[in-house]
């Protein structure tokens, strides 16, 4: 039986996460067909998909399938699954992928395993491993269902652009049956994020926790982040005390960062914070407690008070820059 995969696309660009899901769908199909599903008109994905082993493209077409709507996408997928009866569906474990699959699972009354890191097809059941707490904990599970629904944790990789042209792909239009008064949420506004350094993409993140002590205490951290072309992050203690906005929070319920360098200032390194920064290449911990988990897991550590260490580092960077520029360094 075939395995389906869902292709989210942004104006013809297929995200790496979807190609990864497609690869796993291919492994699970084990010789049977891999079929892709897109919502709305096909932007010319044929050759990209064919090159990745897809034989059939199901294009979901309906006047209500224009902008994204969780309920409409989910109901359309549920109807397609009922008609086609594939062995399973593998989607990317992105916010949208998880949302569409949860909607489809609910409407089909099928089980769903989200955020898998490994899936194998055994006779009767799929054996899988799910990531919990951002991957700090792994859950082994068995999935038994007429159609098995899974999403997979996205890994690093490059997005691929669609290129028009013949592909040999079989395209089938699927028109879902949606009443005009079908209950759904309507997308009414979309604003694009401005450019600039964001926490999620910054090369350097200077992050502060309880040890920073106050919102004013973050000024030297901001200065350091500025000098290094980075962004400021924080722990949940800093957001729940109102020292920083939640958009700065790193961790399980905040942003997951993967910079070249993560500087953790006065952060103990609780699991829920660690999952947000463990993707960093290098970690420098500044902490009064040499036994703090953040210190013992860091690449580099300085034992000391953030209020002394960070300003001293800022001053040292400035001093060296002055020397390089041929200026007489200001006296400390």
């Amino acid at each position: 039986m075939s395995v389906f995969t869902i292709i989210e696309h942004d104006d013809g660009v297929v995200p790496a996460a979807c190609l990864q899901a497609l690869t796993i769908a291919g492994e699970l199909a084990a010789g049977d067909t891999v079929e892709a599903v897109v919502f709305g008109p096909d932007p010319g994905l044929g050759s990209v998909l064919a090159a990745n082993g897809v034989t059939t493209l199901h294009v979901v077409d309906h006047e209500l399938v224009t902008d994204y709507s969780p309920e409409i996408y989910g109901e359309s997928l549920a109807q397609l699954l009922k008609q086609a009866g594939p062995a399973g569906v593998v989607a990317a474990g992105t916010d949208r992928g998880n949302e569409i699959m949860a909607q489809a699972a609910a409407r089909s009354r099928l089980p769903l395993a989200t955020n898998c890191v490994a899936v194998t097809a055994d006779p009767g059941a799929w054996t899988l491993t799910r990531a919990r707490v951002g991957g700090l904990l792994l859950e082994d599970a068995e999935l038994t269902a007429s159609t098995k629904l899974v999403t997979v944790v996205p890994g690093p990789g490059d997005d691929v652009s669609a290129s028009p042209g013949a592909s040999g792909l079989l395209t089938q239009t699927f028109v879902p049956d949606l009443a005009a008064d079908f209950v759904h949420s309507r997308l009414v506004e979309r604003t694009e994020r401005g450019s600039g350094v964001t926490l999620a993409t910054a090369r350097v993140v200077v992050s502060g926790g309880r040890g920073v002590g106050s919102s004013e205490g973050f000024a030297p951290l901001e200065e350091l982040a500025d000098l290094l072309g980075g962004a400021v992050g924080c722990s949940r203690v800093a957001t729940s005390n109102g020292w920083r906005p939640h958009s700065d929070q790193v961790g399980q319920t905040g942003t997951k960062v993967s910079p070249e360098l993560y500087i953790a200032c006065g952060i103990s390194g609780a699991t829920q914070h660690w999952v947000g920064c463990m993707g960093a290449k290098t970690i420098l911990a500044i902490n009064t407690d040499p036994e703090a988990p953040m210190v013992t897991r860091a690449t580099y550590a300085v034992t000391g008070d953030v209020h002394e260490v960070v300003p001293a580092v800022v001053a040292e960077i400035r001093r060296r820059a002055d020397i390089r520029a041929g200026r007489r360094p200001a006296l400390a």
Binding site: L136, R186, L228, T271, E316
Partner: protein, 257 residues
């Protein structure tokens, strides 16, 4: 505006997650418990909505009897009613959890005459993270449902609600007709600390206990494990302000300064 908030009792794990001997659960013997952070924001939002528009806040949880502690936390923040669906110890799969919630909501509606204009969930639970319980409940109840919500705007005259959510590319705003459901995320608001009066009131409040029958689904957990962690030993660069030179050496070596 009557708001129902579904919350989950989750362990506050420390710097390492310990497992029980049979590898089926997190060892929680030495841990405290909390309402999931997303759900804590849902409770806060519900209390603000009820204060602004009138109406009552009901918190509902499916879990062990001890989850009454989290319901009292929500009551002490200002929720009006609390309902516990006692399913005993051990984790339910997400379909069974959703089924228990749906049965509980139906009992509250049919037997107690409750009516909910909004049903709020955390976007995903902090421990199991299945990303689906809220969606399943909303679907079964015939409610529209948006996830990842970090802003709520009600228009009671029009009978609609707008949900704001950040996405990778920016911000999306959805509109749904009431009644509606949403999965909210931490950052929606800053949950209040309960007042002393709130705590006293919560201590005396009566928690409604409901019983439901649920069957396991096709997703069966067979065990939990911790992935191997490899980190080389930490290089200590020094202590206090005197370490600045060594720190900047490293920054230059990494090519960031």
């Amino acid at each position: 505006m009557n708001v129902l908030v579904c919350v989950k009792r989750v362990p506050g794990t420390g710097s390492t997650i310990l497992l029980t001997d049979d590898g089926m659960d997190v060892d929680t013997r030495h841990l405290g418990f909390t309402i999931g952070p997303h759900e804590e924001c849902a409770v806060e939002e519900a209390i603000r909505i009820a204060a602004d528009h009138g109406g009552q806040v009901t918190v509902l949880t499916v879990g062990p009897a001890e989850a009454a502690e989290q319901l009292r936390d929500a009551l002490s923040m200002g929720a009006d009613h609390a309902v516990l669906v006692d399913t005993g110890p051990g984790e339910l799969d997400p379909e069974a959890t959703a089924d228990a919630l749906v049965q509980a909501v139906r009992q509250l509606q049919d037997e107690a005459g409750a009516r909910f204009d909004l049903v709020l969930f955390g976007n995903e639970s902090a421990d199991a993270g299945h990303y689906q319980v809220g969606v399943r409940v909303a679907c079964e109840l015939g409610l529209p449902m948006v996830g990842g919500v970090k802003g709520v705007e009600l228009d009671t005259d029009a009978g609609t609600v707008r949900w704001r959510r950040p996405v990778a590319a920016g911000v999306e705003v959805y509109e749904s007709s009431l009644p509606a459901a949403a999965g909210v995320a931490e950052g929606l608001n800053l949950p209040r600390y309960p007042s002393m009066r709130g705590r006293l009131r919560a201590m005396k409040a009566v928690i409604t206990t409901l019983h439901v029958d649920v069957a396991p689904s096709g997703l069966r957990k067979t065990g939990l494990r911790r992935p191997a962690e490899e980190r080389p030993a930490t290089v200590v660069l020094g202590s206090g302000a005197d370490s600045a030179g060594a720190v900047v050496d490293v920054l230059e070596e990494l090519g960031v300064a």
